[in-house]
């Protein structure tokens, strides 16, 4: 439960509500940062750590749902837990469709919020790991020569060395050398592993 790196952002225009959320969230050992408006949150400098956003739907100026849209548009992947004093069904559906983690009506059970925060942080942590892994994979792929990429694309498509050589007009031995280089540079232990990497990178199989 205790983790020092994670950070919970709270955006609520009601000062007492905000303070009570800080109190509750910090009582389980999580770090909290408070904001009174969506603008203030967007303008803030947020540290690059696993985090989630506890967001009031009704805010003066930019509403919670507007903020959700802005973060999605900006590619800011942060899990959002909505809290509201009065949530109608269309609004809830809209928020959930747009990817909200949870939609809690005030007054909510404190444990419900803490559970939702925990789930959100777990999800963000996983998403961050995945993003980091993908980034590493991309940089490994970027280190391949264009020839090696061509060979890789055909190998993962299931072609045997002979066919690759025929398609790319090179000898089977040269294909083998390139293939070895690809496995090494991509840090793939086996062909299936390389295929999974290609999948993640979205490498398309050339038709011809």
């Amino acid at each position: 439960m205790m983790e020092t790196d994670a950070l919970v952002f709270v955006v609520d225009d009601d000062a007492q509500m905000r303070e009570s959320l800080r109190n509750l969230i910090s009582s389980v050992g999580l770090r909290v940062e408070l904001f009174s408006s969506a603008q203030e949150f967007l303008e803030s400098k947020r540290p690059d750590v696993p985090s989630c956003l506890v967001l009031d739907v009704r805010l003066p100026g930019l509403s919670g749902l507007d903020l959700q849209r802005r973060t999605t548009e900006a590619g800011m992947e942060i899990p959002i837990i909505f809290i509201t004093g009065y949530g109608d069904i269309p609004m809830t559906v809209g928020a959930m469709k747009a990817g909200a983690m949870e939609f809690l009506s005030k007054p909510f059970r404190d444990q419900d919020l803490l559970d939702a925060i925990q789930q959100a942080l777990d999800r963000d942590r996983k998403a961050r790991d995945q993003r980091a892994a993908l980034k590493a994979l991309r940089s490994r792929f970027a280190s391949l020569t264009s020839r090696e990429r061509e060979v890789m694309a055909r190998v993962v498509a299931g072609l045997i060395n002979k066919q690759v050589g025929a398609q790319l007009a090179m000898s089977e031995t040269t294909v083998k050398v390139h293939r070895h280089q690809v496995m090494e540079k991509m840090e793939a232990g086996s062909l299936p592993e390389l295929v999974r990497m290609a999948d993640k990178l979205g490498i398309t199989v050339p038709k011809s």
Binding site: Q16, N23, L24, R58, Y86, K106, D110
Partner: protein, 341 residues
């Protein structure tokens, strides 16, 4: 009068006088009262007690009795009217509060939610053996509880059926309370609200609940007027200021002053401006009439009641088309001279 009777004990009219001294005195008193009234009201020359007949005396008595009776009836009717108006004001007030139910529920939910959070935190701090934080949490719960109580008593004051009661009050404070009740309504309708409340506003002698009813009514009207605005901003502006005399820069300004209440006196002016579709020029004259409404669900009592409340406070309420677009409602209340510092 006494002197006349004493000097001329049997002199009234010279004849047909009742023997009893008491009856004579009463008659003389009546004649004098009627004569005085005739003189002040109709400039009819005073009746000479010495030249007054018995029948004239009885006629005077009947006249006086009738007038007293009429006055009594008028007073009763006025009282009944006031009572009916107060009841009607109460009904419209409660109806307006009904419109605000969602807003009010939200307003009470906030401190309730904060209480639950702080109490939950308090238990967790206790489990974690952190008495300092636990104590802090418990005092936060108390503060939240008080806040919820304050909101409820504010609403109860508005919903209560109480006789009009005049107190010294700060209009800005009254406006602030109304705005906090209508806040969610403002947000739900995507209205941006701006206030410009003067900080040198003198206190007003008035009925807080009734004046808040007027402000609430103007706010709700403005919000509802703007709910149909599809494009363009929905802006609501509320302001207060101290003015010398009632401004009357527009053709739809306040009704002509009858010279009695003194429009030159210092007034407190409260204005509510919106960016809605504005006022229909053909309907502007009947705006304040009872049962006049442009809303599908309106009773048409709000503005009529509001105007009668403001007029009962010696003030004026009037409407003008906003300079750019929308409507502007303003009321001015005179500052009482009998102010005790």
């Amino acid at each position: 009068m006494e002197a006349v009777l004493k000097q001329h004990p049997r002199a009234i009219g010279g004849r047909l006088l009742p023997k009893s001294w008491r009856t004579r005195t009463r008659l003389a008193g009546l004649v004098e009262a009627v004569s005085k009234r005739f003189w002040t009201q109709f400039k009819i020359p005073r009746i000479d007690l010495n030249a007054c007949s018995y029948s004239l005396c009885t006629a005077c008595a009947a006249c006086l009795a009738l007038q007293k009776r009429a006055e009594y009836e008028r007073k009763r009717a006025e009282e009944a009217l006031q009572k009916a108006q107060a009841e009607l004001a109460h009904v419209t007030r409660v109806t307006t509060l009904g419109v605000l139910t969602t807003s009010i529920a939200h307003e009470i939910n906030q401190p309730l939610g904060a209480m639950v959070n702080n109490a939950g935190a308090c238990l967790r701090w206790l489990t974690a053996q952190n008495p300092e934080e636990a104590r802090r949490s418990a005092s936060l719960v108390i503060a939240d509880g008080h806040r919820a109580g304050e909101i409820i008593s504010r609403i109860r004051a508005l919903a209560k059926k109480a006789p009009p009661q005049k107190d010294w009050l700060d209009l800005n404070h009254a406006i602030g309370e109304v705005i906090s009740l209508a806040r969610t309504e403002v947000q739900n309708n995507q209205v941006s609200l701006q206030t410009q409340l003067s900080n040198d506003l003198p206190l007003i002698l008035g009925d807080r609940v009734q004046l808040q009813q007027v402000i609430l009514n103007l706010l709700i009207n403005a919000i509802e007027a703007m709910s149909g605005v599809r494009d363009g901003p929905r802006e609501l502006w509320v302001g207060s200021e101290k003015v010398n005399g009632i401004p009357s820069e527009s053709e739809q300004g306040p009704p002509e002053d009858k010279g009695l209440s003194g429009a030159k006196r210092t007034h407190v002016l409260v204005a509510v401006r919106d960016s809605g579709p504005g006022l229909d020029p053909t309907g502007i004259g009947s705006l304040f009439d009872a049962f006049y409404t442009t809303k599908s669900h309106g009773m048409g009592m709000g503005l009529a009641i509001s105007r009668s409340i403001i007029e009962a406070h010696g003030g004026r309420l009037w409407a003008t088309a906003n300079v750019s677009k929308g409507a502007l409602f303003q009321f001015a209340l005179p500052i009482s001279q009998e102010r005790i510092s």
